[in-house]
Symmetry: C2
Subunit: 341 residues, 2 copies
């Protein structure tokens, strides 16, 4: 009988390589730019191209970091920062107007390996609210800061500050005027929003990195014509943003009040954790149940196996995802997936 | 063969009475006045008597409404309003001081049959923040209002407004001075709270009414020496307050940042709903897991069968419960239940 001798050093290398390969999770990222009444008939080819180009840039920016061994935290921050800087979406530069014709922005970040979280609400002078949310998570003892207090904290964090007028856009101002007209015609008690676009355009990203760590980031200008210091689902951890390595990471967009009442993000992860469902199945269930009670919107999810998916109960959602299998960029509902590499 | 004739009217009454009896759930209420380092050695007999008397008054007030056929919503509001009006607890009158020597109060309410919710944060001039949370739920299209905006909304709601100095108490001012001294001695990055009492004293109530509907209410002055518009778990629906007829109702108290990151209230209810655990079992699990990651506090829970319970990972928690079986009022840990009727 012949024995094969393998030098100890070769064995060590084999073990090392094998161990390293096993530790590498399939990296991936999903992003969204809001869900709502987005229909092909209402969008010019040029507009569609603009949205698709920005979504592609954002998903690529995040993916490149992941592919280079970066963290899911850095990847979702990079993607969301890019979307905040675009006037196309209701976050950062493109934030909607409040009733008082100002802008109040909200954002949240969460990391799945340690369930650390940071959230800011009603911030008016920070160019990239998602960076402030990250600073809250990393450099304060708190999770959620709001208003002037949050801005005082921002002052200590070397973040880029801007005048509130930086967020002015003609397109959003017209939307405010329409919203105010419609609202003033309604009695106070019945002041229910009728135009889903008033609350559309939140941006978000979820990702998994090579260490298998999940992260979720979400940023929004909130609801057009919002009043009274209204806070939506984005900075409410578990409603519009959530990450937990033992279940999934979620970023949501839609009618924030419903996302809060139904704990959308954490309910999806609870079904994964306690019922053994896939994140995709859980997300689909929760969005169907939400619609049944009147809540519209969508979510993007990633699970610890690296499965990337989305679910929405609106006509469309700006969305993109990228992993080793390729890139998908979509806007309208029921699209055949267009995969490109 | 002899037939027994029952007049139609009698049958109708029998059906009516039987139906009515079946619809009656066992009513009950649980309340808390905060969890923390509450030890017998640190409390005089007189102090203990004061706390026990106020807890008894609050639980009785809520229970009497329930016994008379009132709603769980009215019962938890009545109990929490009474606790807010007492200087003993860190809510309403007894609210702690912020870093800037003011008071910023948070509160939340949720009803289990429709998952409606209302929350307010950083409110400085409303005598009973829990009543403002209820007004947000019932009279606005929003779930969460904050700061000056929330106060503008309060102005439209016929609520009792007070000067911020109404919340001044000598006892809390001394606590602020101690907290600031301790914090200023620490480098910013390490500004971790060391005195659990700084964040103690939140009040809350959960109840079930004769219709089987659950409700949860929570109110707090937050964390002593809080800064930067910090918001804790109370107004974050799913963190410190939650109600859902299909699982349970929870009110929490403790280190708010941990309650947010671990979605304490909704995680307890998710375990009931998706794992079939009792609310008491789920609450015990979650509080043990929270302690393992460094989070201290406690919760009170009620499930749709009317089981009343609590769980806390601190030395003590101000707490009381009442149902047909009697009344229990406790402060310290490991107490033998004292039941009285």
């Amino acid at each position: 009988m012949k024995t094969i001798k393998i030098p100890a050093i070769t064995l060590s290398i084999l073990v090392l390589v094998s161990g390293f390969t096993e530790a590498k999770a399939p990296v991936g990222i999903v992003i969204h730019g809001g869900a709502g009444t987005i229909e092909r008939s209402q969008m010019s080819a040029e507009q569609q191209q603009q949205y698709e180009a920005t979504l592609t840039d954002a998903v690529n920016k995040g993916y490149q970091l992941l592919a280079a061994g970066g963290t899911s935290l850095d990847a979702v921050i990079a993607a969301v920062t890019l979307l905040e800087d675009s006037p196309l979406f209701n976050a950062g530069k493109g934030a909607v107007y409040t009733w008082d014709e100002t802008h109040e922005l909200d954002a949240a970040i969460m990391t799945g390996q340690d369930r650390k979280a940071g959230a800011v609400a009603s911030v008016s002078n920070v160019k990239n609210p998602i960076l402030l949310a990250r600073a809250v998570m990393e450099h304060s003892e708190h999770v959620m800061l709001t208003g002037k207090g949050a801005e005082q904290f921002a002052d200590t964090q070397q973040l880029e500050l801007v005048e509130n007028s930086y967020f002015n856009t003609e397109f959003r101002y017209e939307a405010l005027k329409r919203a105010k007209q419609a609202k003033q015609a309604l009695p106070h008690q019945a002041a229910v929003l009728t135009d889903p676009n008033w609350k559309m355009g939140t941006v978000g990203a979820v990702a998994i990195d090579s260490q298998g760590n999940l992260a979720a980031a979400t940023s929004t200008g909130g609801m057009t014509a919002k009043r009274w210091g209204r806070i939506g689902d984005v900075p409410v951890i578990g409603a519009g943003n959530f990450a937990d390595n033992s279940s999934c990471a979620v970023s949501g967009t839609g009618h924030g009040e419903y996302f809060i009442r139904y704990n959308v993000a954490s309910d999806i992860c609870a079904r994964v954790k306690y019922q053994g469902k896939t994140a995709a199945t859980a997300a689909g269930e929760v969005m169907r149940e939400l619609l049944a009670v009147g809540g519209t919107g969508g979510v993007i999810v990633v699970d610890p196996k690296g499965e990337l998916s989305w679910a929405f109960n609106t006509p469309g959602m700006y969305r993109a995802k990228r992993n080793a299998a390729g890139t998908v960029v979509e806007i309208f509902g029921n699209q055949n997936e267009k995969t490109s590499n």
